[in-house]
Subunit: 310 residues, 2 copies
């Protein structure tokens, strides 16, 4: 990760990097002209920046770039499903155990593709929420422009015709424009925070769900591999008959149930934070209750342990 | 997931599907001629099938298709990093809290891109291991062909010149070819199992690592969002000064440490299997030892709990 803790500063090379410069990037990772859609994607990105109000330009570009990310995931989901089918197809001619296990692995990998598709839909929610920030940014721009324009007109008049009665009219107009602008800026401030928070909460919840489900699938995949009989046979020796059909089917059923019943509350990957956020006073009561619960849990386990030991 | 538990059977539509047919797929998901590289990808796939020995054809195709998957992930990783930079860039002009939080979110999202790159390298290990299965398949083909050819020659001679002395020579040759073939088939059987197991263990371990790390990042991302002050302000009111710089930096440091110290042993997403594999006799001893350890752990926690309670 970035030792500077910011994307804005460029990193100075570390001592290790100076001692042994990194190798050139692999040829597959260089830009391709055809292939991975870089033309369309970069066009979409740069076109977004060239229109619309100044204030909303960067965010508009971000929203377009997120569309590119979504398309890449879509592509990957499609290819994942094709790979799954091909794996199953390949295994079909093999011995019974290889045939059954590859077919079931295919089912799991196909499911990864399906989950990727579901992830895209959730990622889109994030993107759409970002759009509403872009929209408020775009709508605040005219009120800023208007205020600026009146201020300029007053300065111009004061220089050219210091006694013009128009100045008073303009100054009254400026007061109104400033009032409008105050409201607009407060809206921008409130909506930006609310929506950025909501958008990234969507994204991170989607990532958590997607990741934990993928990790589950990988676990079930490893269980399937156990059914492959890889004890070496000598030439002419035949393998014992395969009897894993029930077991492999059960792994798939288990996987299906685990995925279907997964909820965010069950998420098992938890970050460990070294700073206790004491400044979040509003949530303190809830947090303490939660902490009590968390502390109760182990002692419940303790009770069970005692019963088992007794 | 597939209710038929196999990718080979086509699914009959369910009652629910018959009652309400699914909507047409979204326009973004249809095949694109330009854009997501479908031409290059499908060319690579179909070219692979048209060469090489019959036996290895399907697997050769799978290996190429996996290359496509890798390229899609690469593309995604690249775009993820661009999105991260753009997010940080957008936030730069905003208020202090929004600016700091979006910059740090950018760091986390950039890291997702980096992890995706690392995942590709591991995925490539899987693909390379599959290649060795393809190679053994390809090398077994000639011995099968030779046996078949001799068998055909003998049948032909027996029909045309039943008393030809060449028949005996060919029959001796067939015995040798069969011996060679027995060895080749045993090699195929052993290597296929060994390598398929190794390959998918690579893949699933890579998926577990990648997923759990992403889930961690999402968790830290949510912690960052807490630093955004989203209590609404009224027009003209100014927000309290932002004092989250230390906290946000600490979140990044925590995330960095959590990612750096993550190992497969710590994986927290565990599949629950309803079938106990009693047939894996070889591992029984180890497994029981493992189970004992696992049972010891909670009681160790118990001890600690007692100390804390006392």
């Amino acid at each position: 990760m970035h030792r500077t803790y910011s994307l804005r500063n460029s990193r100075a090379p570390t001592a290790a990097q100076l001692a042994s410069p990194p190798p050139p990037t692999s040829s597959t990772k260089s830009g391709r002209f055809f292939g991975n859609g870089s033309i369309v994607h970069s066009f979409r990105r740069s076109a977004a920046g060239s229109m619309g109000p100044d204030l909303a330009r960067k965010l508009a570009q971000l929203v377009k770039m997120e569309k590119n990310v979504m398309r890449s995931i879509e592509q990957q989901a499609r290819e994942r499903r094709e790979v799954a089918k091909q794996l199953s197809l390949w295994g079909e001619d093999a011995d019974e155990d290889v045939s059954d296990v590859t077919d079931k692995l295919g089912v799991l990998i196909y499911e990864i593709g399906e989950l990727e598709d579901q992830f895209i839909d959730k990622y889109d929610q994030y993107r759409i929420t970002l759009k509403s920030v872009r929209n408020i940014e775009a709508s605040v721009q005219p009120s800023r422009d208007r205020k600026q324009k009146i201020t300029d007109q007053i300065a111009h008049l004061k220089y050219k015709e210091p006694n013009s009665p128009k100045i008073i009219v303009l100054e009254q107009e400026l007061v109104r424009a400033e009032a409008e602008s105050l409201v607009a800026e407060a809206q921008l401030s409130n909506i930006t925070r609310e929506k950025v928070k909501a958008a990234f909460n969507y994204q991170f919840d989607a990532i958590r769900e997607h990741s934990e489900k993928l990790a589950l699938i990988a676990g079930y995949g490893k269980a399937l591999l156990e059914l492959l009989d890889d004890t070496p046979v000598t030439p002419g020796e035949s393998r014992p008959a395969y009897d894993g059909y029930e077991a492999s089917k059960q792994v798939i059923i288990d996987a299906e149930n685990a995925l279907a019943s997964w909820t965010l509350d069950q998420a098992s990957v938890k970050p460990t934070l070294s700073i206790r956020r004491a400044d979040v006073d509003d949530y303190d009561d809830e947090e303490e209750e939660g902490a009590e619960w968390a502390e109760d849990e182990p002692s419940a386990v303790v009770e069970e342990g005692k019963v088992l030991d007794a």
